[in-house]
Symmetry: D2
Subunit: 403 residues, 4 copies
Amino acid sequence: MSDEMTEDRPLGVAVIGAGMAGAAHAAAWRAATTVRTPLPRPVRLVAVADIAEPLARHVAGRFGYERVETDWRALLDAADVDVVSVVVANRLHREIVEALLAAGKHVLCEKPLADTREDAEAMVAAAETAGPVARLGYTYRRAPGLAALRELVTSGALGEIVHLHGRYLADYACDPQAPMAWRFRGEPGSGALGDVGSHLLDAAEFLAGPMRAVSGARFRTVVAERPLPLTATVGHGKVAVSEETEPVTNDDWAGFTADFDGAAGTFEASRVAAGHPNGLRLEISCRAGAAVWDQENPAEIQVHTQEIGGAAAASNGFRTVKLGPEHPYIGEGYAMAAPGIGVGQNDGFIFQARAFLEEVVGLDEEQSWPRCASFAEGLRTLDLIEAVVASAGDEGRAVSVAR
Amino acid sequence: MSDEMTEDRPLGVAVIGAGMAGAAHAAAWRAATTVRTPLPRPVRLVAVADIAEPLARHVAGRFGYERVETDWRALLDAADVDVVSVVVANRLHREIVEALLAAGKHVLCEKPLADTREDAEAMVAAAETAGPVARLGYTYRRAPGLAALRELVTSGALGEIVHLHGRYLADYACDPQAPMAWRFRGEPGSGALGDVGSHLLDAAEFLAGPMRAVSGARFRTVVAERPLPLTATVGHGKVAVSEETEPVTNDDWAGFTADFDGAAGTFEASRVAAGHPNGLRLEISCRAGAAVWDQENPAEIQVHTQEIGGAAAASNGFRTVKLGPEHPYIGEGYAMAAPGIGVGQNDGFIFQARAFLEEVVGLDEEQSWPRCASFAEGLRTLDLIEAVVASAGDEGRAVSVAR
Amino acid sequence: MSDEMTEDRPLGVAVIGAGMAGAAHAAAWRAATTVRTPLPRPVRLVAVADIAEPLARHVAGRFGYERVETDWRALLDAADVDVVSVVVANRLHREIVEALLAAGKHVLCEKPLADTREDAEAMVAAAETAGPVARLGYTYRRAPGLAALRELVTSGALGEIVHLHGRYLADYACDPQAPMAWRFRGEPGSGALGDVGSHLLDAAEFLAGPMRAVSGARFRTVVAERPLPLTATVGHGKVAVSEETEPVTNDDWAGFTADFDGAAGTFEASRVAAGHPNGLRLEISCRAGAAVWDQENPAEIQVHTQEIGGAAAASNGFRTVKLGPEHPYIGEGYAMAAPGIGVGQNDGFIFQARAFLEEVVGLDEEQSWPRCASFAEGLRTLDLIEAVVASAGDEGRAVSVAR
Amino acid sequence: MSDEMTEDRPLGVAVIGAGMAGAAHAAAWRAATTVRTPLPRPVRLVAVADIAEPLARHVAGRFGYERVETDWRALLDAADVDVVSVVVANRLHREIVEALLAAGKHVLCEKPLADTREDAEAMVAAAETAGPVARLGYTYRRAPGLAALRELVTSGALGEIVHLHGRYLADYACDPQAPMAWRFRGEPGSGALGDVGSHLLDAAEFLAGPMRAVSGARFRTVVAERPLPLTATVGHGKVAVSEETEPVTNDDWAGFTADFDGAAGTFEASRVAAGHPNGLRLEISCRAGAAVWDQENPAEIQVHTQEIGGAAAASNGFRTVKLGPEHPYIGEGYAMAAPGIGVGQNDGFIFQARAFLEEVVGLDEEQSWPRCASFAEGLRTLDLIEAVVASAGDEGRAVSVAR
């Protein structure tokens, strides 16, 4: 990765896409050098690109980027840009990422990798042959609690996972008057499953290893049609709507069961779960214990350790473990680092950006925070979604997901 | 049901089976007259029958029953016995219940109705043609929170259920040294699914209406073999074990998805869920809200009501509703009746016994607490279990459950 | 205690006072023989006495007592009555208890012992010289969680208590239209402090040992006047009210600090705490851990054990310990006994009645459940209340409470 | 505040003190321009000053400050420094702040204002006569939940506060082997009360208005002596200790009661509360409801609204309100802004820095986030601490705190 000619030059960073998630990326690059030890190379916040110039200008100004571009292609030849976040509509990922990699830019692509298998496979191939770093954004892997729970499972302290339950309950589509948008169009599987469910699938495998098959897949479109918006909208805010409606074609809810090596589980993803603004949660039952992680308290886990055969087995309930500075994301991630200081979802973007930069500057894995997800892992999520869709289309029959 | 010749005679009650659940029945008949308004006819605690005489004697003495029988057949001709609880091994239910009904006894049979469809159908037929009352014990229907949540759903306050999750997590089989017992033998579906899962299935339909199909069924036998006990055991207590083992043949865990009318859901039943002594829980997402009931706080519900389109929608989180004396099970069920007084699982047996007696003495449905489950509803649970088993046996394919 | 002439005769039980708490006593005597091992002597439910005959008749009928009395004095000479609960207005306790003890009856008096020190001291003297058993009802001592927490403290597992917080938050007086009643009359200290606070004081000393001084006492009368009721009322139910009002003269809220041997704490009692139907809660911080008991989950404790100097100290959070059958109140107190079965406040009355009967029949302390509170302990609570009142009357100055 | 000559020049920021809280300030200035709308004037991160140069260099490098100083006096004449955080030992605050104000620098001083009344009064006087902005850092006021709860109280929706309980439970001094340090020296009141208690006192008055008197004050020194450290230490980390010990002279725990206008409350501050890394919590009972805020979930409040006289009053429990983007701190404070995204304690420093800058650049109060606390409010906290100390020294007698 080292480019001897430019090593002393700051790493130039750009973000393509200035919506809410783009802003989170822009903020993350800005903060990424303030966590852990000093990065061996300085970072320069160069550009924000968005076809909507005022939006690009707003984000660039807010987070201190030097310039804006209304055409992302301007970044391809920009000598001062080394690292690019791609945070645009999923169907545009492939073209942009391929061009950036071909131009020698390091790319952090927001999840999901792509809308189609064809695009995803092409992107994986491009990443494998490219010189630059190509990574995918799965920020929940950076939640201290989920990371710590994974370490706990790996350590063997809880014994083998025997069954698990995972869910991502969101409420952003509860309101039937929320206007039609791109997220409500597409095939079943591209709705709640593709949106919040892709996070769930990645987090579940991150924690419990690969799924071998999915079964019993069910989809529901709860709000069958939505009013057309009268004006364009960014994010999930309320806008004035027309009396005209358009059918919602993809899933508001998806449920399925899954086989792992040994373990099995039940899963659900919803965007119509009233009262759950952001309810990603994983519960594992193990041979010698059990544990829970919930995104609403991202730096906390609930842990039960079974004292098999012990007199006090029944008395040994779930502990609420608030992670403190002994965990790297907390100890190295905050100025004030203590248990109970509070950790937010935006911070996951920072830790991810940091890990990406560490790879770009050539820190080896032992010196770095865990690497970001690979494009292949993003394709993996597509495989899983496809399998869920196939199961739903075949009366719930088990569909294996080779790995 | 009224028998004019004997109306003034006390109703004589007997319990067949003096294990833990039998004791709960014995206790319940004793307390059943102390809740609500006076029952129009006194109750006499006549007999406890168990092949293990010391056990029968213990329960009879503890709860004030007049005599013990070591052969349940002695109750058939007992002129002083009108009402009988049947709380024995499931495979014995049919013979005993049919004989009791034929002898004119009112029967409250503990769940599940039977081990086989053949037995269950015969019992339903017997119940339909018999004069006496024949009912099945599903005590969780008596939990104030679940009952109140059902009323809330029926009232329409939350809107139609759109998706739900149900689970019964128990931990009694976590210890691999817990000895082999009848509950670990049998076909898949007769383990966690048949034991705790039957409660879950009944509670789910009690709350959300009938399932139309089940899919994606998965079973897991987590503890593959168990040591043989060195001595007989009652309940789930620890006993000395042999070095010899026997394979466990049924399910420690079962998971599946289900279609309702409109709604869909994910479900799991486990007896190897460390840290969950008795975790029956139902979570519903509705068009205008959401709610949760958990057996661990049986008189409490979590309720979220979505203010669709309202400014404060996002601020309107789950309320913890502690049911108070305005709910009949609390207001009429306890001497001290107030919100937060605490309600236990044993109390459900009392409320059930009370409802059963109300039917026996001829109170109409408006005057009574809700009727106990019918034998047909017990057969229904078998239908559901069979469908789950069929789905598991057919690669998770959807299996419809006609009703 | 043994009366050789009557040993084979059942113990006859009566209850004076048929209000809500009287009913709880009536129910408790009925159930007291159904917990633990058989009591060596049978119990006969003889009489309920109340000046309001319909009320007495209702309670007697509901719980199976043989007869009613409208004058409690009828019990003095009743040869078939051995044990009497006194559950009437506090100011009547002394006369009734003294007469019963003089007549040779065993007396379980509901808390608080008396309204005045003079009465209380006389009752203590009467109890000391009397042959029969005289005990006071502090039912929260029977909550499994509080009992277990006390054992945990005594075991030394948490180290010495260093500070604690206790509160009893109730909401029964929130509604300013709730009518005037005896409980709203009297000197400061006789309101929230004397009612729910007396439970708090007893529970605090039960857990943490004797207070040495109380300080900084503050009272608040939040609802300054209340409408007169148009009709008599029992319990806390709603009744029609007049437009005429009467001032509330005692405390709706009381707060103070307390010195123990070594430890110190803050305490509050309220009857105007919206949202807290029955919020008795004790939190202790110890040298090697911490714990919480809350009446709303009476069979549960939260326990934190500090691993001093250990690397994982910060990771070792509060465990939710659900007590199971290994605790006597659960293992011996219920037909179905398991962790998470649910325990209610009414059950405390049963366990208390059982312990009382065990003392009456002569079981020694090792064979028995813990003895009920003594009259001296009831006087102790009065001492504490007096000290709080004295502190409030002297600008919050510390007032010692000798013991 | 406007300085016409320099308006276009960036605001230069410096931080004095590079310990953990200093780092939080350094991080906050860096992020302060990334929240809300653009600040009318750019910000330049100029200097970090600390007598320990490596520490200063580390913080400067981490957060992008241009230079370090080992003598804070170098900032007095620095033309490129306009705004200075003072985050050093409390006893140094006065000298530094006075000099900075005299030199025309805007000063944000970390709490507590000073160690002595004399210093504090001098600082208040200096602030009043100075041209520059002088503010005190009370970051918990920036917790979205506490801010929202204050708004809720002010709105009248819950009615007047009738009683409250506040606590700040910390565990950093639990370990008796944690070495002696400046925080364990000083008069009673300078320990837990002065450290975490000062936050509690400010938060309590922020929420409930001024205290009128404090009473019943109690102090406890739980760990009577501590080993001397073998090496210097920063923050609360573990260090090697000597066998020599030194007595701890100030309070590990403080408790007291307080009178407000109308309301009253109980309060405690602890640094030896095992299991509570950072437990600041306020609970209010009001005439028409109740609410709780806990620092461990800083963007969440528990709210109960009493429906006085309504049938469902008892059913209306506490709601868990997760604040979302409709609250300014969330909606304007994060790139990804949604309910449940997670908010951390470090973020409070950012919001505070932002509010400070808004005042410096001359935004009026309506355009700005709420102003930071004044020096007079810092003196107020000292008044309250003095009153608690005086009460403790006078047998708990009430001590009024004029305002």
